[in-house]
């Protein structure tokens, strides 16, 4: 226990420093005095005795120092001293301090922001009980409704009867829950509220959903199995976020009656605060509803596959065995239900299988979507940090050089090198900590900015922008490690400088190690910046190509409105009336040039496809099923898709008129090669439907789903010719408006007009066509904007680095420059001389950076659209930007060098 005593006594003496040192002074003085007295007793006079004692015992100051240094607490005191010195020195060089802190803040702040995202998106588990027991039946994110066999045989979407079967036949799952693979639009009004119904997002889930996740309710109760039975009173659970933001955390909501899609429901509870459902996504469900309450009963037939399954394995179950068992069950079920599988898919039945995947993170939609982007951002920010480190290293070296003569004096006076190194490191770590603290602010703001960039158009993203403890530790360790890493070399070098050299005033000692390191740091900076700039150029060009590509429609002056008649209780027989009203009243809104309605509009996330048969031709299943859409009159002119031949769909295409279709170029090329499609007939499904629709027109290709690939083969049918049996999806959901002026300005008038048609008609979304399309490129935009930002930061850092190095070199060569000029060198020669060395660094940096960028660009290749990863223009632009910035940075000190007065330079020092 001696150390405890030692610690306590050490603390005691730290707290009573004055007293302890006074006491020790008395003791040591007594000691020396006694020694003197002793010597005087032996016959010396006092002066002789004092001298003898001093010789024997050394000075009392040294003794005090030795004894003091032997205490552990003196180390603390030294640290405190170093801190104080460090603070003082930093305070005296505010420019240097600000430059380092800012550089660190930006470099580490950016990295921390991105790490926060990586942590939240890629690493965090669902906020549920024991996430590692959760397993998902399937390994991809195919959506939303399918029939028959699935892509590559990997089953992810399940029909309700198949779910029931797997749930009941797999006892290894303590719970196996099912939920819709897509969120449903809901139109919700609290009973008794005067306001119109509001749009919300809902998810239909099996009754054991909450039990499977092992979570209860924050208030009220969660859904239970009884809620999910036929005839049970409709019950719903509200998300905490919705409760808080839309209902003001009103406790009376629990147990209250709500009208959801015209059906009366009871809100039985509020979900826990952090729970966002089974999938991390922007705008997660506001409500969870039992599957049994789903209005579309046909979804519960054996045919439609639309449910995702996640189960909780019992602790003793082995996933491999469970997977094998599920496969047997799946095969058996498919074998017994061949009637719901299209005959052409029967040959694939044997390949159908279930891949049981860990689902601690739920359905990994965002993880899959953002994996590549986040990896890219991590690389970019790491590059930025490296550039920042090089810059800080350079600043520290320059700072150390400025203090060189001071250091030399201290060394000459006998200060131990370790002490000097310790002091300099303390200063660096102090700087690093200040930078780290500033970095956290940058990180917090940065995460917010990144989230709003990444999820443009989202109302709510269940990702916390506040850095987690892990991220805080990461930032702290990174900044301290950076501080020590970049601080140790300058500290060591400064402390090992030869005091004699430094003291002899030779500020122009050339070729020493520190300037070699400075040069290589600048070269490294240039190289990394080249990589960053080329990368930024590539992703920016790619984004531009994507955003300004030929879509096959025009976004300018277009407004898209999404409505949901089904949610307002419209039944198919009332739809024709609604269409007519919309058709009549929308063009009357002032500023509207033309208006149309359709199932869905381009690039809004929806797509329907169906196999077709052409009359007079054998069914051809080589092609993926063409997409199709139902549209009203004036559709193509309203969205700006050009009609190439024939006629568009118009007012005459009524239910009683002959059924017609308009096809796009790709459809024409694929199904009617070297033939004239106009007047030909085709249909959906089997051969008996071959004559259903007559082709009356061809429009140009337009992209509806995939922005990178070519347009899908697509056909358009008149909205009014929908057969009454066509499912809910067939109800109009999009209104397109071509307007004058800014499309957003007309929103109030449109809402007004819709409310006049039917106040209960829920408006899901009003957004300009341009914005709607832009949201397709959120990830690309995020990467491009951040890469640009990082590129600009890197340029600034390179600028600072080159400027610092050049002006440092000029300052040290003032003497030499003076001599050169005295010997007849022209000012221009001096200018060229200085610039030449700056450009040598630039050249070397580019020579390293460009090949690295070209090699690294291959990572990007798949991400790029319309630009090659070795695009020479972008490489040239990046090199030119760097060159001009370098010229700017170097020309200021170069000009200064050229304006040196030889007389002054020769007298310098």
């Amino acid at each position: 226990m001696w150390w405890l005593r030692n610690f306590a006594l050490g603390l005691w003496s730290l707290l009573r420093r004055e007293e302890v040192s006074k006491e020790f002074d008395a003791e040591i003085n007594g000691f020396l005095e006694m020694a003197v007295e002793e010597k005087m007793k032996r016959g010396m006079d006092r002066a002789q005795a004092l001298r003898a004692v001093r010789l024997e015992q050394g000075s009392s100051e040294v003794t005090r120092e030795i004894v003091h240094a032997a205490r552990w607490e003196s180390f603390l005191e030294i640290c405190a001293q170093d801190l104080a010195i460090g603070f003082r020195r930093l305070w005296r060089t505010p420019g240097f301090t600000a430059a380092v802190v800012l550089t660190l803040a930006l470099g580490i702040g950016a990295t921390t922001a991105i790490f926060t995202l990586v942590d939240a998106v890629m690493l965090k588990s669902l906020p549920v009980a024991i996430p590692k027991q959760l397993y998902r039946l399937g390994d991809n994110n195919n959506c939303c409704e399918m029939t028959g066999t699935q892509n590559d045989g990997s089953f992810v979407l399940y029909s309700y009867p198949l779910y029931e079967r797997l749930r009941d036949q797999t006892p290894e799952f303590s719970q196996l829950a099912a939920f819709g693979s897509y969120l449903s639009d809901l139109s919700i009004r609290r009973r008794g509220d005067a306001a119109a119904a509001q749009p919300y997002k809902g998810e239909y889930v099996s009754g054991n959903y909450f039990e499977m996740f092992g979570i209860g309710a924050f208030a009220g109760r969660a859904l239970i199995a009884q809620d999910d039975t036929a005839g049970a009173p409709p019950a719903a659970v509200m998300s905490y976020h919705t409760w808080q933001t839309r209902f003001g955390s009103d406790p009376s909501v629990i147990g209250a009656a709500f009208t959801i899609n015209t059906v009366p429901y009871t809100i039985v509870g509020v979900a826990p605060p952090r729970f966002y459902g089974d999938t991390l996504r922007s705008d997660p469900p506001d409500f969870w509803l039992p599957l049994a309450a789903h209005p579309d009963r046909w979804l519960f037939d054996p045919g439609p596959e639309w449910l995702y399954l996640i189960g909780r394995l019992r602790p003793d179950a082995r996933p491999q065995q469970v997977q094998a068992r599920l496969n047997v069950e799946l095969q058996e079920w498919l074998g017994n239900h061949r009637e719901v599988i299209p005959a052409r898919d029967w040959k694939d039945i044997a390949q159908q299988h279930v891949h049981l995947t860990p689902a601690g993170q739920g359905v990994e939609q965002m993880q899959t979507d953002y994996a590549l982007g986040l990896r890219l951002l991590v690389i970019l920010s790491a590059l930025l940090v490296l550039i920042a480190c090089a810059n800080i290293g350079n600043l520290l070296l320059a700072h150390g050089s400025a203090n060189r003569s001071q250091t030399a004096v201290r060394l000459a006076l006998g200060a131990p090198r370790t002490r000097l190194v310790q002091q300099m490191l303390t200063e660096t770590v102090l700087l690093a900590l200040m930078g780290g603290a500033a970095a956290l602010l940058v990180a917090y703001a940065g995460t917010h900015a990144i989230l709003s960039l990444a999820f443009r158009g989202a109302h709510y993203v269940p990702i916390n922008a506040r850095p987690s403890i892990a991220v805080l530790c990461f930032a702290f360790i990174t900044s301290v490690a950076t501080g020590i890493a970049v601080g140790i070399a300058p500290a060591w070098m400064t402390s090992h400088s030869n005091p004699a050299h430094a003291l002899s005033g030779a500020g122009h000692s050339r070729g020493d190690r520190s300037s070699a390191i400075q040069k290589s740091l600048v070269i490294v900076q240039v190289a990394f910046s080249t990589v960053l700039l080329i990368g930024a150029g590539l992703v920016t060009q790619s984004l531009r190509n994507l955003e300004y590509q030929k879509f096959g429609f025009v976004t300018d002056g277009r407004l898209i409105v999404n409505i949901a008649p089904a949610l307002a209780g419209y039944t198919p027989d009332r739809l024709t009336g609604l269409y007519q009203q919309l058709h009549d009243s929308l063009p009357q809104i002032p500023g509207v040039l033309s208006a149309s309605i359709s199932w869905y509009s381009p690039l809004d996330g929806n797509n329907a496809n169906e196999r077709v048969v052409v009359q007079g031709k054998a069914p051809d299943y080589r092609w993926t099923a063409p997409s199709w859409d139902r549209v009203g009159p004036c559709y193509f002119e309203t969205i700006g898709t050009r009609l190439l031949r024939g006629r568009a769909i118009d007012e005459h295409d009524t239910p009683s008129a002959p059924h017609v279709a308009v096809i796009n170029e790709t459809f024409a090329r694929r199904f009617f090669p070297n033939e004239d499609p106009i007047g030909r007939r085709f249909g959906m499904g089997d051969v008996s439907h071959g004559g259903d629709y007559e082709i009356v027109g061809i429009v140009e290709d337009a992209k509806y789903q995939d922005t990178r690939g070519p347009a899908y083969a697509t056909f358009f049918l008149p909205l009014l010719q929908s057969p009454s049996g066509e499912n809910v999806r067939g109800w109009v959901s999009a209104i397109e408006l071509h307007v004058t002026g800014k499309p957003e300005n007309i929103e109030p008038a449109v809402r007004q007009a819709l409310a006049e048609i039917d106040p209960n008609l829920t408006v899901l979304k009003v957004v300009s066509f341009g914005e709607l399309v832009a949201r397709n490129f959120n990830q690309e935009r995020l990467i491009a904007r951040l890469a640009e930002l990082f590129g600009v930061l890197a340029l600034i850092l390179v600028c600072v680095g080159l400027y610092g190095l050049t002006s440092y070199a000029v300052a040290r060569r003032t003497h030499e420059i003076g001599i050169r000029m005295a010997l007849g060198a022209e000012r221009a020669n001096i200018l060229v001389m200085v610039l030449r060395s700056a450009f040598a660094y630039l050249g070397l940096g580019l020579a390293i950076g460009i090949p690295v960028a070209l090699a690294g660009g291959r990572v990007l290749a798949d991400q790029l659209y319309g630009v090659r990863n070795y695009d020479p223009t972008i490489v040239a632009i990046a090199a030119m930007v760097l060159a001009s910035v370098s010229f700017l940075a170097a020309s200021i000190p170069a000009r200064r060098a050229a304006s040196v007065d030889p007389l002054i330079a020769l007298h310098y020092e």
């Binding site: 001696w2 005593r5 030692n6 006594l9 050490g10 006491e23 020790f24 008395a26 003791e27 040591i28 007594g30 000691f31 020396l32 005095e33 006694m34 020694a35 007295e37 002793e38 024997e56 015992q57 050394g58 009392s60 040294v62 003794t63 030795i66 004894v67 032997a70 205490r71």
Partner: protein, 109 residues
């Protein structure tokens, strides 16, 4: 400032101080004089080494101090061996004896 303790076998200064204090409580100067006398001038301890050792022993709890008047009437800090110190001295003396005997046997062999 030549370091006398380097003449001492490593680690023996503590033991010698304890031995000195085992006879009677003593102040710093007294300890150094006593050590010099008892070793007939072989060991000379300077103030720095002595006070570092005293501080170490005190923190280890084997000695404690007390301010008292000296025979010459000045006040000095007297160091007193504690019970723990006495045990430590016994242990170290025994161990020292064993080692010296062993070394002697090796050297005489």
């Amino acid at each position: 400032m030549a370091d006398k303790p380097s003449d001492l076998v490593q680690g023996t200064l503590d033991m010698l101080i304890l031995k000195t204090l085992a006879l009677e409580p003593m102040h710093g100067y007294g300890i150094s004089v006593r050590l010099e006398q008892m070793s007939s001038g072989t060991f000379r301890i300077n103030a720095g080494s002595l006070f570092v050792a005293l501080q170490r022993l005190e923190r280890a709890g084997v000695i404690r101090n007390e301010w008292k008047a000296t025979e010459n009437g000045r006040r000095a800090k007297y160091y007193i061996l504690t019970q723990k110190g006495r045990r430590r001295l016994n242990d170290e003396t025994r161990e020292w004896g064993r080692q010296v005997a062993a070394i002697a046997r090796i050297l005489e062999a």
